[in-house]
């Protein structure tokens, strides 16, 4: 800073004074009218000294604006230092009413009287406020205002309607007043206008919190928010019922999927971390967090995500868990969907085939939806895989089969049979059965279905002059046509059937 005599003189009096007058341009007439009588009757340092530092500094600015720079220079025995080239001016260096800079600006960053927090340091406009060269008030706009607004939000002072929009309006002024009171500023200095004292308090408060984080997390790493809060979202939002081979992350509807959220470094006065689901709508799917659309956290917690409306086909992966603080996003999880999946195949005996040209058994297939409601599987299909591992005698030459995809929301019946025309010699056939599914909601296909494995064993044995047919189907962990699965539920062992 160029230390002028006037500055030195004012500092001796305990005032933080302007190094120079910033810009021309008037305030609103009403405000000018409030100041001008004082200028006309009580101008001069004795009056200024009677005011608080912030008011004193602001008074000087008012004097400058109302009476003109020459007048104030005269009062303060200051001299302007000549115009500053345009390229040295801030892009956002605008007067509170948006007028262009028109006269000398005397300021330097690095002059020993600078903002110290990384959040504000180096911003020419805010440095100018700190140096009492201008104030931020209603009508101010630009990046500097935006920085202050974001800081206020991060410090827990709400700007619910406009947020950090870069325009200093009524809402910002109210938040500034709240901050001033919170910072211990007293009396008429609690006015919602940012002068050097308020800027100093903002700077001190900002120093308590590290600067704003840049990265938006992908869910795998903690992300530091603007107040130094660290949030770690789960690396994947997916239910434990999601098969390992399934690339798409999803949670089912109707049931809870726990998600561990780590939150640290949240100051007591800071706004809470708010969890929400980005992208939720009728097409992408809907999700509640502990039963509500949003969830506020002040510390780490395990929250329960519950799918509501399932993701419509063609809209997979449009949902994300988002952590924000006072409207500012600080972490974003990996994409996921809401979709029910089939699992836990069951088979139960229905009837034997004892007459006509077939021998064998009919079984009732069943499975579960991981949502608890099979009707939720209306966009899923199941394909049975059968691979023959033993084929001898009368059964030779058949080979395995697949069913192709059939709707998962409708249970089927399996037939395991052989034609009597075939059962004319001893033979043994062993087949492995598993299932895979596809899900149109998440766009996955050919995913092994959990616990859908069976062994199907049939024999034709000679008994006296004729043959007997024996068949059993037993839940077994196995692989069929390259589709592995754990054991399905059910054991059907039929007594010998007369061929």
């Amino acid at each position: 800073m160029h230390r002028t005599d006037a500055v030195a003189r004012l500092e001796e009096r305990g005032a933080r004074t302007p190094r120079s007058h910033p810009w021309e341009g008037g305030r609103r007439e009403s405000e000018a009218a409030q100041v001008h009588p004082e200028l006309s009757t009580r101008h001069g340092l004795p009056h200024l000294r009677a005011l608080g530092a912030e008011s004193r500094a602001r008074e000087i600015l008012h004097l400058q604006r109302v009476a003109g720079n020459a007048a104030v220079s005269s009062v303060l025995d200051m001299k302007s230092t000549g115009p500053v080239p345009d390229d040295q001016l801030d892009a956002d260096a605008r007067s509170p009413i948006g007028g262009p800079p028109s006269i000398a600006v005397q300021r330097k960053i690095g002059d020993g009287h600078d903002l110290s927090s990384p959040r504000f340091a180096g911003n020419h406009t805010l440095e100018a406020v700190f140096d009492n060269e201008q104030v931020l008030d209603r009508g101010s706009s630009g990046p500097a205002v935006k920085k202050v607004q974001q800081a206020l939000i991060d410090f827990g002072f709400r700007l619910p309607k406009f947020g950090s929009d870069g325009s200093y309006g009524k809402e910002t002024r109210a938040a500034v007043k709240s901050f001033q009171a919170d910072a211990g500023i007293k009396g008429k200095d609690v006015d919602g206008v940012i002068g050097p004292q308020t800027m100093n308090e903002l700077d001190l408060r900002a120093a308590e919190f590290p600067g704003p984080g840049k990265a938006i997390g992908n869910g795998s790493a903690p992300v530091v928010g603007g107040t130094g809060v660290s949030v770690t979202l789960p690396s994947k939002i997916t239910a434990t019922t999601t098969p390992e081979l399934m690339a798409a992350d999803r949670i089912p509807p109707r049931v809870d999927t726990p998600a561990n959220i780590e939150v640290s470094g949240l100051a007591p006065i800071a706004a809470p971390v708010t969890l929400s689901i980005d992208g939720a709508n009728a097409a992408n799917g809907t999700v509640t967090i502990d039963g509500a659309a949003t969830k506020d956290l002040r510390s780490g917690a395990t929250v329960n995500l519950r799918g509501g409306v399932q993701t419509a086909p063609g809209n997979a992966g449009n949902l994300r868990l988002v952590a924000s603080q006072a409207g500012t996003e600080i972490a974003r999880g990996a994409p996921f969907s809401v979709s029910a999946l089939p699992q836990f195949y069951t088979d139960a005996f229905v009837n034997d085939l004892l007459v006509g040209e077939r021998r064998g058994v009919v079984v009732q297939d069943g499975w579960e939806s991981d949502s608890g409601n099979v009707a939720d599987l209306d966009q899923a299909d199941i394909s049975e895989q059968v691979e023959v591992t033993t084929e001898t005698g009368c059964f030779a030459g058949g080979g395995g089969v697949v069913s192709g995809y059939l709707p998962a929301s409708v249970f089927t019946q399996d037939t395991h049979s052989s034609g009597t025309a075939t059962l004319t010699a001893p033979g043994h056939r062993v087949a492995q059965q598993t299932c895979m599914f596809r899900d149109k909601r998440t766009g996955v296909t050919d995913i092994p279905m959990r616990d859908s494995g069976y062994l199907i064993d049939r024999r034709c044995i000679k008994v006296g002059p004729g043959f007997r047919f024996l068949i059993k189907k037993i839940g077994t962990a196995t692989t069929a046509n390259g589709v592995p699965s754990g054991a399905g539920k059910g054991e059907i062992i039929r007594p010998p059937q007369v061929v």
Binding site: S403, G404, Y405, R429
Partner: protein, 156 residues
């Protein structure tokens, strides 16, 4: 829903080549489907009706079943009783066997109406140019008669 066709490779069942599935996709628009007999219709299809000598001709088989009839959907089911130029080109239908139900079957049985594409794909190569006819006639059923023109030009 897109038709699913399968083939057997080394004892396993895998998806049929895309070109075969594309042929099956044309079933609804196929101009000369087989005759509907007792609620069942057999149709055979090929990529084109014009081939060169030595080209592989792949025959896609389709069973269309009317309402409430059972459909043995698992497969690919074997093709019996297919004739080329009047001569049996596949295995004959085993005595006493239902042509639409495999000798040993493991899988779902659903009710029609349904179009079932899950049949083996038969392949032929013609060594002589001219018109050739393929028909699938298992038991009392008969498919459309597929006429294939084989051209010698590609031999040049």
């Amino acid at each position: 829903m897109r038709p699913e066709l399968f083939i057997r490779v080394n004892g396993r069942v895998i998806k049929a080549p895309e070109a075969d599935i594309a042929v099956a996709e044309g079933y609804e628009r196929w101009p000369d489907k087989g005759k509907l007999t007792d609620g069942r219709r057999l149709t055979i299809m090929a990529t084109t009706r014009s081939y060169a000598v030595g080209d592989e001709v792949r025959i896609i088989h389709v069973l269309e079943v009317a309402a409430d009839r059972p459909v043995y959907v698992s497969g690919p089911k074997p093709i019996f009783e297919e004739y080329v130029d009047g001569r049996l080109a596949t295995a004959p239908l085993p005595s006493g066997e239902d042509p639409l139900e495999p000798a040993s079957y493991d899988g779902p049985v659903v009710r029609g109406p349904r179009v079932d594409y899950n049949w083996d794909i038969s392949t032929y190569r013609f060594s002589k140019p001219g018109m050739h006819q393929v028909v699938w006639k298992p038991g009392s059923l008969a498919s459309n008669r597929l006429s294939i023109e084989v051209d010698a030009a590609s031999l040049i």
